[in-house]
């Protein structure tokens, strides 16, 4: 069963440095095959979420939109976990939303 979600990456470092490592570790906890696409910069490239190198190569910066696609037994749990991680800022303090 395939599950997917589109997310806005809002934390200051994007998917680099420590946040990227957190993302990879979180993905590694699931059996599903998980891929990430950087919709803003590289819409044709899908990187395996369990590879730090492949993720870094996507160049996801703060403000980019990504799609996370998972396939396999625990795919829905994987997508939910990664969504929660990204939306909570991947361990970084998030700037307030533009309205404030």
């Amino acid at each position: 069963m395939m599950h997917q979600v589109t997310l806005n990456v809002r934390n200051p470092s994007g998917l680099h440095a420590r946040p990227a490592a957190l993302f990879v570790r979180a993905a590694a906890a699931f059996a599903a095959d998980i891929r990430v696409v950087n919709l803003t910069r590289a819409p044709r490239k899908a990187a395996p979420a369990k590879s730090l190198l492949a993720l870094l190569a996507l160049g996801v910066s703060s403000g980019d939109r990504i799609r996370v696609v998972a396939e396999g037994a625990d795919a829905d749990a994987a997508v939910a976990a990664l969504r929660a991680l990204v939306e909570s800022g991947l361990g970084e303090a998030m700037p307030p939303s533009p309205e404030s």
Binding site: A17, R18, S51, L53, G59
Partner: protein, 565 residues
């Protein structure tokens, strides 16, 4: 003996046995298989990261955490296995794949990502070492590390007690090895052509990090020169370290709080390292200059938070925007003024630019709520209680949708207008602190333009009119039990600092570069001596007379302190 030139990357001098790091070659036997080797490499990196974290080196630990992830990265390992299926030996395969991944990352537009190329190459080398059963890099005796380039994980792995200096044939002053050398206080030279060849036969190497040269097998004279540089550096470091650890106080132990003046958030960190007990003046103009539109609240809050971060539990005084008609800010509603220094500037911007000031206060409150520092807000150009009421009204507007009334920042004023000095007794009851801006106070009191060099004689804050004004402000502060600081240049001038201490000022805020000189000057006199000389200076006939009498006291006391009691 030979001298090779390079680029200076970290100052100082060292002489030691060369220790050469070379990337593992693929000659000879592989001992471990790829799987075993990656597990070993990962374990090494995890252990190293933990060690660094415990030593308080969180950033270096973070780099190694990422490398530990790379050690079992599917791209890296998968690529190596493909090469092995094509016939390559494991060590050759991992090195080649590491190189390929590094090249792919370097080719990307994104600078931050490209910097990670260094890390994947580093990890591949570590795995290759494990495959070959090579002994990990370690120093056996005090050494100068030599390499084409030192991988980050190797640099942090080396025993710092034995690492005397670093010399690289390639590398740049921004390489991780150079950054580490500066942090460790050891010399480093990079870009030394011919280094590896020359060093492989050498018995000892001299590294001149300040001049940017490496001496192969220095002879007697060269050794003496290097040793002299080294000795002088050691003495200076020891003296600086001792001074940094000494609080600002008179000879008989009367303490004055030492604060820093900073103009950008990153200066806050170095101020803390230099021994500042807080920030007495954080100038916020940097956020507003050089832009075509006003900065957002969010961007301001991030910057202010960064300045607060190094000072847990300590005061950080943030001064609200102090610009006016003399600075062309395109987004300021301004009318042309004949005399912008006496015009609608600083807090007076509320006249036509109220929202700008409210937005800044909003950002300061946001940053303060997130921070463990004590945020103090300071308004410049305040003349009277009407101005104080204006500041409080703006702050109330900024706080309107916030519910963190529990941690209200303290609100104080810069005392720089003569009116504020005259009315200090009124103002002291209405604010939480005073900070005397002696630069502008001197300018306004003596009607001497700070920017006019022919008036230099008339711009000395040691003028008795200024000293008496400070005395008045201090007295008012004492009566109202609020702290009085000085953040003008006078605080960082040894003669000025001693005078201010004698006038009863509680806190001195200055550029951190002046910390040492001020500590030495104040430490030379007793509080009673400072008070006596300050009182006499208030009755001097000129700034020059006042300055001379205080300077004489400081010099005498420094020369023969024990005779003054």
């Amino acid at each position: 003996m030979r001298v090779l030139g390079g680029v200076s990357a970290a100052p100082g001098a060292a002489i030691g046995a060369p220790w050469i790091y070379r990337a593992p070659s693929s000659r000879g036997e592989d001992r471990l298989d790829l799987r075993e080797a990656t597990k070993a490499a990962e374990a090494e990196l995890v252990a190293l990261a933990d060690r660094l974290r415990h030593a308080g080196r969180a950033e270096d630990a973070g780099i190694l955490d990422a490398q530990a992830l790379m050690a079992h990265d599917p791209e890296l390992i998968g690529g190596a296995r493909r090469r092995m299926r094509d016939g390559a030996a494991a060590s050759a395969a991992i090195l080649a794949e590491g190189e390929a991944q590094a090249a792919a990352l370097s080719a990307l537009d994104n600078e931050i990502v490209a910097a990670r190329a260094v890390d994947v190459r580093d990890v591949a080398q570590r795995i290759a070492r494990a495959i070959r059963g090579d002994v990990g890099p370690r120093l056996e005796r005090p050494s100068v590390a030599v390499a084409a380039d030192l991988p980050p994980s190797v640099t942090v792995e080396l025993d710092q007690e034995l690492l005397l200096g670093i010399a690289l044939e390639a590398g740049s002053p921004t390489a991780h090895a150079a950054i580490l050398a500066r942090a460790l206080g050891i010399p480093a030279v990079v870009g030394v052509a011919g280094l590896l060849d020359a060093a492989s036969d050498a018995n000892s190497l001299g590294v001149d990090g300040t001049g940017g040269a490496v001496t192969i097998d220095p002879d007697g004279a060269a050794r003496e020169r290097l040793e002299a540089v080294l000795a002088e550096q050691r003495e200076r470091r020891a003296a600086d370290a001792q001074l940094r650890a000494t609080p600002l106080a008179t000879r008989d132990g009367h303490r004055i709080t030492l604060l820093a003046n900073v103009g950008r958030p990153d200066e806050a960190v170095s101020a803390a390292t230099a021994g500042a007990e807080g920030i007495g003046l954080f100038r916020t103009e940097f956020m507003f200059m050089g832009r075509s539109s006003a900065p957002t609240v969010a961007a301001q809050a991030e910057a202010y938070f960064a300045a607060l971060a190094p000072f847990v539990g300590r005061p950080v005084v943030i001064r609200t925007l102090d610009v006016g008609g003399d600075k062309q800010l395109p987004y300021l509603a301004q009318e042309p003024e004949g005399n912008p220094f006496l015009g609608l500037r600083a807090i007076r911007l509320a006249e036509h630019n109220r929202e700008l000031l409210v937005a800044q206060l909003r950002a300061i409150l946001k940053a303060a709520a997130r921070s463990k520092a004590e945020t103090w807000i300071m308004a410049p150009m305040v003349a009277d209680l009407g101005d104080v009421a204006l500041v409080r009204a703006l702050l109330a507007e900024a706080a309107v949708d916030r519910d963190d009334s529990a941690r209200q920042p303290r609100v104080g004023i810069m005392v720089e207008l003569p009116a504020a000095a005259v009315l200090a007794d009124q103002l002291a009851g209405a604010v939480d602190f005073f900070s005397i801006g002696t630069n502008d106070l001197t300018q306004y009191l003596l009607a001497a333009d700070r920017t006019n060099p022919s008036l230099a004689q008339r711009q000395d804050p040691m003028h008795p009119a200024v000293l008496r004004s400070v005395r008045t402000v201090v007295r008012a502060g004492r009566m109202a039990h609020i702290p009085v600081a000085v953040c003008g240049e006078m605080a960082g001038d040894p003669v000025g600092a001693v005078t201010l201490a004698g006038l009863g000022v509680d806190e001195l805020s200055m550029d951190p570069g002046s910390f040492g000189a001020v500590k030495r000057a104040l430490g030379a006199v007793t509080q009673v001596e400072a008070e006596r000389i300050a009182a006499r200076a208030c009755d001097a006939r000129s700034a020059a007379d006042a300055r001379r009498m205080v300077a004489d006291l400081v010099l005498e006391s420094a020369a023969g302190g024990s005779s003054h009691d």
